[in-house]
C-alpha cells in the first residue's frame, strides 16, 4: 500500500514560500536526533525514525508539524529499543505539564 509519506506525483496545492523560524524546542528535537544517531551512541537509525513517522496515520501525518513528527518518532524508537519505558515517559510528561501550569 502506498504510504502517506510517499507523495511524489500526487496532486497538491500551490507552493507557498514559507520561511518558518524554528522554535527552541524544535531545534532541540533536531539536536537529540543528531546525538542519538551518532555512531558513538547508535541508539537510533535514521531509518527507524522514518519508519515511525511513516506509520503515523494519514490524518496525523498531515496535521502534525515537522518536528512534532520527529519527536513522536524519537520517543517511539527509544521505547522500541528499550532505552526508555512508557511509564517513565508518562511520568516525566506529567511533570512537564505541571511545570507549564505553574509558569
Amino acid at each position: 500500500m502506498r504510504g502517506v509519506h510517499d507523495m511524489g506525483g500526487l496532486p497538491a496545492g500551490r507552493c507557498e514560500r514559507d520561511e518558518h523560524e524554528y522554535e527552541r524546542w524544535e531545534k532541540r528535537v533536531d539536536a537529540l536526533m543528531m546525538l542519538l544517531s551518532a555512531q558513538d551512541r547508535d541508539l537510533m537509525k535514521v531509518d527507524e525514525l522514518r519508519r515511525n513517522i511513516e506509520s503515523l496515520g494519514a490524518d496525523a501525518y498531515d496535521r502534525m508539524g515537522y518536528y512534532e513528527r520527529w519527536m513522536h518518532a524519537i520517543a517511539q524508537t527509544l521505547i522500541q529499543r528499550g532505552v526508555i519505558t512508557i511509564d517513565e515517559l508518562g511520568r516525566k510528561l506529567a511533570e512537564q505539564e505541571a511545570r507549564d501550569e505553574r509558569a
Binding site: H5, D6, M7, G8, G9, L10, P11, A12, G13, R14, C15, E16, R17, D18, E19, H20, Y22, E23, W25, K27, R28, V29, D30, A31, L32, M34, L35, L36, R41, L43, R50, I53, Y61, D62, R63, M64, G65, Y66, Y67, E68, M71, H72, I74, A75, L78, V83, I84, E88, L89, K92, L93, E95, Q96, E97, D100
Partner: protein, 197 residues
C-alpha cells in the same frame, strides 16, 4: 503539512523536554552536548554552499573536483560535513537542476543547515517531480523551453546541491563578491541568479 504549529504543539514540546530529561538522567546525553548540537546546526547555512560555488566559478580545477566529489570539495575549503555524501549537479546553458526529497526531507543539512519549511511541504514534495516548471514558476523562475530540466529525488544515501550558472556581468569579481550573489534557493534549484550590471 501546516506550517503553523498544530493544536498538539504543546504536547510535543513537553515530550521533547521529557525525553531530554530522561536521557540526561540516564547519562546518555548532557545538556551541554544538546546545546552544542543546536549551536552547530545554527551555524550551518547556505553561505557555506555559496562559498563552494564562488570558488568553483573562479577555479576550473576546483569545479572539476567538486563535480567529482562534493564532500571532499567542501572539506577542501575547511567546511566540516561529517557523514554527508554530497553530489553537486551543474547548471549549464542547456540543463537546469532542481532538488527534492519526495519521501521525507533529505537535504545536505550537514553543509547547508536545516531546510526551509516549504522544502518539506506536501505541495513541493508532491508536485516538483511531476510539474517542475509550474512549481518553479510559483517561485518566480521561468525556464526557457530549450533548457532541459532535471529533478533529483534524494531517496537514499546521497545529498544534492546545485551549482548555479555564473551570472553575466561578473567578470573579474573576487570570490567574496561572487559568493554574496548566491542564494539558498539557487542551491536547491528553484531560483536562478540574475545577471549583473
Amino acid at each position: 503539512m501546516s506550517a503553523a504549529p498544530s493544536d498538539s504543539a504543546g504536547y510535543y514540546r513537553r515530550m521533547q523536554a521529557a525525553v531530554e530529561e530522561l536521557l540526561i538522567l540516564k547519562g546518555i546525553v548532557t545538556p551541554a552536548e544538546v546545546q552544542r548540537q543546536v549551536d552547530a546546526m545554527d551555524a550551518r547555512s547556505y553561505k557555506r554552499g555559496a562559498q563552494m560555488v564562488a570558488r568553483a566559478w573562479c577555479d576550473p580545477a576546483y569545479k572539476a573536483r567538486m563535480l567529482a566529489g562534493g564532500s571532499a570539495a567542501a572539506e577542501e575549503l575547511g567546511l566540516e560535513v561529517g557523514p554527508l555524501r554530497l553530489i553537486v549537479v551543474e547548471n549549464t546553458a542547456r540543463v537546469h537542476n532542481v532538488i527534492v526529497c519526495t519521501l521525507c526531507s533529505c537535504y545536505p543539512r550537514m553543509l547547508l543547515g536545516i531546510p526551509p519549511e516549504w522544502y518539506k511541504s506536501r505541495a513541493y514534495r508532491s508536485r516538483v517531480v511531476r510539474a517542475p516548471r509550474a512549481v518553479l514558476a510559483e517561485f518566480g523562475t521561468v525556464l526557457p523551453d530549450d533548457v532541459e530540466l532535471r529533478v533529483h529525488d534524494s531517496t537514499a544515501d546521497m545529498r544534492y546541491m546545485v551549482l548555479p550558472l555564473r551570472p553575466r556581468g561578473t567578470d573579474g569579481w573576487d570570490e567574496a563578491r561572487l559568493a554574496a550573489l548566491v542564494t539558498r534557493d539557487s542551491l536547491i534549484g528553484v531560483a536562478r541568479l540574475p545577471d549583473q550590471g
